[in-house]
Each structure stands twice: as structure tokens, then as C-alpha cells.
């Protein structure tokens, strides 16, 4: 059945409202944004039908409606859940040193930072797959070295670590430490 111009617009409004809302929206609430002469029930029914076969489905929950990803696509979203958190200062510093000095050993990182590097710090970066082991260094004890990975480059949208600014450039760019001291 063809929709009237009004109904078509009502569909668009409901779609946009649902899209920007993380929770279900009551029909009462939706009505506030629509002309009074709209038969909201029939519009919802049509929307529901429209979304039936798509990646997103429109669901009724009591007197509200909500958009949810289709059940059969759940596998897309089961990736490991890491709590959204910022990287510790130690980890950021270690990551930066590895990016600039790779291949670099743990001892060398510690020399540059002036403090020892906890194994947790390396673990965090390893878990993120931002760093990996490089060749062992041809020096006494043949210690392992660390390198950054392609995943690191990808995450930070870099084409190469060589494109990062050097020490002098960093200072000139004014990417200063000021803001870091806040944490």
C-alpha cells in the first residue's frame, strides 16, 4: 500500500528519533513530534514490516518501540569486551618509546623513562596487539626487543611510524606535556 506524504514523513521522523535514542520510545512520546491526524499505529506497523527483513528490526516493547539489530546478526557483536578506559601514563610512555626507538629492549625503555617498566604495562600493550616481539638484540644476554604492529598503525591511522614527528618537531608543534599532568 502506498503511503501518503504525511505518513511518509511520519515514518522518517520515527526512524530518526529511534536512531538517536538508545532506549525505547513510548508511542505517546512519538506522537508529540507528529501531526495529530496521523494514524501512528498503522505507520509503526508499516515500519515494522519494512525493517522485518533488514539488519535492524523494529520491536515493540509494551507501549514503546525500539530499533535493535537483527537477532541472527548477534555474532557481529560478540567481540571481546574491553572496558572503555584510557591508557595509563606508563603505558602511553612505553608505547611512545617503542614507536620511536624500535627495536628496543625493556632495559632500554627503562633507561629512557628513568623508571622500571612493570610487566603489566607490556601486557596491556601486548593484549591490544599494538606491540610485538622483534628479533633478539645482538648484545649480551640477547634480550628480546619490542616493535609496534600494523594494528597499532591502523588504530592511529598512520602509514608508518617514520611519519611521526621527531623530538624537535614535537616541540615545534607544541604537543606539550601540559595536558598529561591532569591525570
Amino acid at each position: 500500500m502506498k503511503l501518503s506524504l504525511n505518513e511518509q514523513n511520519a515514518e522518517r521522523v520515527i526512524e530518526a528519533l529511534l536512531f538517536t535514542s538508545s532506549e525505547a520510545i513510548s508511542i505517546k512520546e512519538l506522537k508529540k513530534n507528529l501531526p495529530t491526524n496521523i494514524d501512528i499505529e498503522s505507520v509503526i506497523e508499516k515500519l515494522q514490516k519494512h525493517y522485518e527483513t533488514r539488519g535492524i528490526n523494529l520491536k515493540r516493547v509494551g507501549k514503546s518501540i525500539v530499533l535493535r539489530t537483527a537477532k541472527d546478526l548477534d555474532h557481529l557483536f560478540v567481540k571481546k569486551k574491553v572496558k572503555k578506559k584510557s591508557l595509563s601514563r606508563a603505558a602511553r610512555e612505553t608505547l611512545a618509546i617503542i614507536a620511536y626507538h624500535q627495536p628496543v629492549t625493556k632495559l632500554e625503555i627503562e633507561e629512557i623513562r628513568g623508571v622500571s617498566v612493570g610487566s603489566g604495562t607490556i601486557d596491556v600493550l601486548m593484549d591490544l596487539e599494538w606491540i610485538k616481539f622483534g628479533r633478539r638484540k645482538l648484545s649480551p644476554g640477547r634480550p628480546v626487543t619490542f616493535l609496534t604492529t600494523d594494528i597499532f598503525l591502523d588504530y592511529f591511522d598512520l602509514s608508518s611510524t617514520k611519519d611521526l614527528p621527531g623530538g624537535k618537531e614535537l616541540r615545534e608543534l607544541g604537543l606539550s606535556v601540559r595536558k598529561l599532568n591532569q591525570d
Binding site: 574491553v82 572503555k84 602511553r92 610512555e93 614507536a99 592511529f156 617514520k162 614527528p165 606539550s176
Partner: protein
Amino acid sequence: MEEPTEYHSSAKPELHVILDGFEGPLDLLLTLAKSQKVDLKKLQLGILAEQFLNYLKNHGYKFKLEFAGDYLVMAAWLTLLKSQLIIPEDELKENDGDKINQLLALRLERLAKIRENATWLFDRPQLSQDFFPSSISKNKKVIKEDCINVQIADVLRAYTGIIDKQDYEVSLQTKEEYLFLDKAINYIEQRVKGSKALISFSNLVKEIHTLSGIDAKRCAASIFCGLLEHAKLGKIQMKQTNTFSSLELAIVSNGNKG
């Protein structure tokens, strides 16, 4: 790449001149030029020069030039232009004034254009003003496999922090130039351990030089010091049969120690 113009190469990063709200001489010139209400291509540079110099005079920048190097060069440039309008034409070197004239006009035009474009950009519909993102946040950012929230600027700042703190000079290809004594001592220890045969000093230097890429003479010096250190502790013995002959090393077995 474009070569920096003459006046610019003198600008240090911290020289960020804002005089009475003008960001640099080009900014001021553009404003002055606009007050002439003419096409930038047909600028009356003579008038512009006069205006600029008057501006500097009226604002007392004549005596604060150390504070405004950019302005000084710009003023010199414009004074040159103005003087050329006064000098009889046949004494003028051909093209000279013309070129500066053109260059300045082009640069002002370019700055004006960029300014227009910046305005155009910020007048555009903007995210979360005119169109909105999804809030179906159950899976927000799930695409980026990890939900770590860190930007490259944060990583760079971390690094600036380190190099600032230690005054550590960095280059992207850091290669060690010196063999530090503790490393030399370590290396000798590793190398000599378990080796029954005599090792010659020159071979040892050669090995370390190839491994580390550090200058051979510097390696030799550090290793020699390292050897003395070991000898003092009684861990190794050195012998040399003749003056300038090769120096041989042997480890002192545990039994002989003390």
C-alpha cells in the same frame, strides 16, 4: 616544497606576533588592503606601504622591533616598494619592484581565499547540530576491537614529556654511538664465560664492533676499560708477549680465584 620566504625563515616558533589583534603582518596588510576596497590584484601598494608604516609608527612599534621581527622585514619590504614609486623609472632595475608587488598581491589573495574557505567550512551543517549520530550505544565502538580510548596526540605528549624531562635528544634512527662501560663489562663476561681458548683483544673488539655498529676505536677503548675492571676483580688474566703484540685473554677458572 615551497622555500620559506626570506622574512619567514627568521621566525622562531615562539614568535607568534599578535599586535592589537592582528596575527602577523600579512593579516594586518590584508585588513589595510581591504580598507582600500579594491581588487587584491590591483592593489595600490604604495598606499598600502604608507598605511603600514604609519600603523607601526602610531602604535609605537618603531622601538619594539625585537618584539616584531616579522613586521620589521615586512616594513622593509614595503618601504622598498614605496621607494620604487618615487625613484625615476629609468634608474629602476627592471622587474624587481614588479615582482615583489606581484608576490605580495598573490600572497594576500591566497590568505583572503583561505579565510573565505574557513568561513565556508564553519558555516556548513555540522555533526550534532544539523545531523545526528546513532545512540544505539549497546555496541558503541564495538567495531574498533578494543575500547581503549587514546589518541595519537596522547602518545606523542607522553613522549614529549619524557624527552623534556630528561633533555633527551631524539632522532628517529637512534643508533648508539658509545659502548657504555657497563655494557662492555657485561659483554666480556658473556663472551669469556665457558670459552677455554684464548681470545685475542683485537678479535673481541672486532666482534663487538660488528654486533653493535659502534665505532671500532670507541669499542676498543670501552672494552679495554672493561678488561681492566675484570682483571682487577681477578676474573680474567691478560698477557702480552711483546710490546705491540696481540693481547690475549683467558678466564681465570674458579679454582685459581683469589
